[in-house]
Amino acid sequence: MTQIAPPPRQAPPSVAGTAGRKTQGPAVRTLVSPLALGSTRGKILYWTVFCAVVLGFALAFLFPVYWMASGAMKTPDEVVQTPPTLFPESLTFTAYTDAWEQMQLPTHLWNTVVQAAGAWILQLVFCTAAAYALSKLKPAFGKIILGGILATLMVPAQALLVPKYLTVADLPLIHTSLLNDPLGIWLPAVANAFNLYLLKRFFDQIPRDVLEAAEIDGAGKLRTLWSILLPMSRPVLGVVSIFALVAVWQDFLWPLMVFSDTEQQPISVALVQLSQNIPLSVLIAAMVIASIPMVLMFLVFQRHIIAGISAGSTKG
């Protein structure tokens, strides 16, 4: 939601470059000189600061997460008791099983998976095709279309949610409603100027000769895209995929508008709707379960995600 997007213009070329590179070694000169660090006083100071930062980070970022995971293992009485206990008195997993059953988490998790996967696939298909057309096929009015797409980057998405909702509720010309339908998430997700621009910028870097060689060998446009361009674009496709999946999984306000039907709601909406009338420990367990997929994905792809974010700032 309020996640800060890296500035669009610099991202694609550097994504490929930084993805595999290790973080810079200690040889690089920074604010403090190596000489000052080498002295005994410097060493003591360095390790004091280091320990303070480790402690501070653990307290600020890891402890809340620990508190959530351990809170769900406490009994309903223990979780509301003051002063709270640092460790659960006994490990109980009933809150997790209760959350799983009472809050219908399998349904909501499945809804989220369907919505995120569909948005991801449609975004890959349509954004890649459109980026290919704009970058390599250069259709008439292509510049104007690209300008129109980039202009939507300027318009804050959240401010337009209400008219977007009205459009989705009653599509122009065909007069069908996409409310309470995964299509209501999927199709608007395709209109993602940021991802389209990332792809277009990446395709721009691929020399025309490569594609022409394929065309001389008799490959059609689709074939060129599929067998030449896409295999070369793996890094940027990875970045776009992560952005697309995370965006849908984390979104709240749009699915809140689209899905009034409880059975269809993704986990983020369901958590808030159900949070009022559910015991605290069960709610916390549900929160933990809702966080696991994204946190797991982050831990698996952390190197790529962090490189992708960092690449957003460095100039080339």
Binding site: V65, A130, L271, Q302
Partner: protein, 318 residues
């Protein structure tokens, strides 16, 4: 179509050429060839184009139209001139929402801006466990915003909450947090900062690593101490990124919704109602889509100013 494709493929020149190619094949006229190329290009483009038209361009135009209409789904819209705007202006929540949104943005800027910068500055000096710090600081960003909001709602709970417990542990006076009209907004800023600063820290870190080490060496030779080096080397060198992130953050925080909606519900005493929250209320509680769109247009104009500034800055730097 098949016969038309053949000459183009073998031509090996850029697909669209204003000049007709030397007539190597006679099977298709240059016009037909260009037409077929356009048809194929638009075939690739069409899916994305329809989605942008339907879900980006059309709603933007429609927001402006509906802002001047009395609009209830199911019945024909009615032109009402600027009635929606006057009505929204007279809503006591309108002033509160703008005030809260601006205060929230300002506080988020002060806290959510200085903290990540100092953090990145310190992290950049550390020579050990670098990737550990990066993963840990980014972890809250990957937790769904709804979960972090609910988590902090529990922390702020006056009874079993961790926040007051921590204050008691440190022998400090406890706070009302989200239950006090004067502290609620600040409490939400803390949540938003905690949840979102990972990205900012990572971007700063990358920017700091781009600063040439010679600059620090030269400054040191000139006798600059550590604070002077930060002031005269680090900040000027990262000024552009700082400005960019500041604008992006303003745009993002002015659209804050999840935290007030989940944690406080706009209360106490309207102290955390934001513009986006008010838009939501007009549309889905009052069923007044005209008023919601009038508000959207106002928010849009304000935010577009920042967006335009952002785009201008990124352009001129190229």
């Amino acid at each position: 179509m098949k016969t038309v494709q053949a000459p183009h493929r073998s031509a090996g020149a850029p697909p669209v050429t204003p000049e007709p190619r030397p007539a190597g094949r006679r099977s298709a006229s240059p016009f037909a060839r260009r037409l077929s190329h356009q048809a194929r290009a638009y075939g690739f483009l069409i899916g994305g184009l329809i989605c942008f038209a339907l879900f980006s361009w059309y709603p933007a135009i429609r927001a402006v139209i509906i802002a001047f209409q009395k609009y209830t789904p199911g019945s024909a819209p009615e032109w009402v001139g600027t009635d929606n705007f006057t009505q929204v202006f007279h809503d006591p929540e309108f002033g509160a929402a703008w005030r809260n949104t601006l205060t929230f943005t300002l506080l988020a800027l002060l806290i959510g801006f200085a903290v990540p910068f100092v953090m990145a500055l310190v992290l950049n000096e550390l020579r050990h466990a670098r990737s550990f710090f990066r993963v840990v600081v980014y972890l809250p960003v990957m937790i769904p915003p709804v979960v972090s909001a609910l988590l902090w709602k529990w922390f702020y709970d006056p009874g079993a909450g961790l926040a007051n417990e921590a204050l008691r542990f440190l022998h400090l006076p406890t706070s009302n947090w989200t239950n006090g009209a004067d502290t609620a907004l600040l409490s939400l800023v803390i949540v938003a900062t905690w949840a979102n600063m990972g990205g900012t820290v990572l971007i700063y870190l990358a920017a700091l690593q781009g600063i040439p080490g010679e600059l620090y060496e030269a400054a040191e030779l000139d006798g600059a101490n550590i604070w002077q080096r930060v002031r005269h080397v680090t900040i000027p060198q990262t000024r552009f990124i700082i400005l960019m992130l500041m604008l992006l953050q303003i745009i993002a925080t002015m659209q804050v919704f999840t935290e007030p909606f989940v944690i406080t519900g706009g209360g106490p005493e309207n102290s955390t109602v934001t513009i986006l929250y008010l838009i939501y209320k007009y549309a889905f509680l009052y069923n007044d889509f005209g008023g919601a769109c009038a508000l959207s247009v106002m928010l849009l104009i304000v935010l577009s100013l920042f967006s335009a500034l952002y785009l201008r800055l990124t352009r001129t730097d190229d």
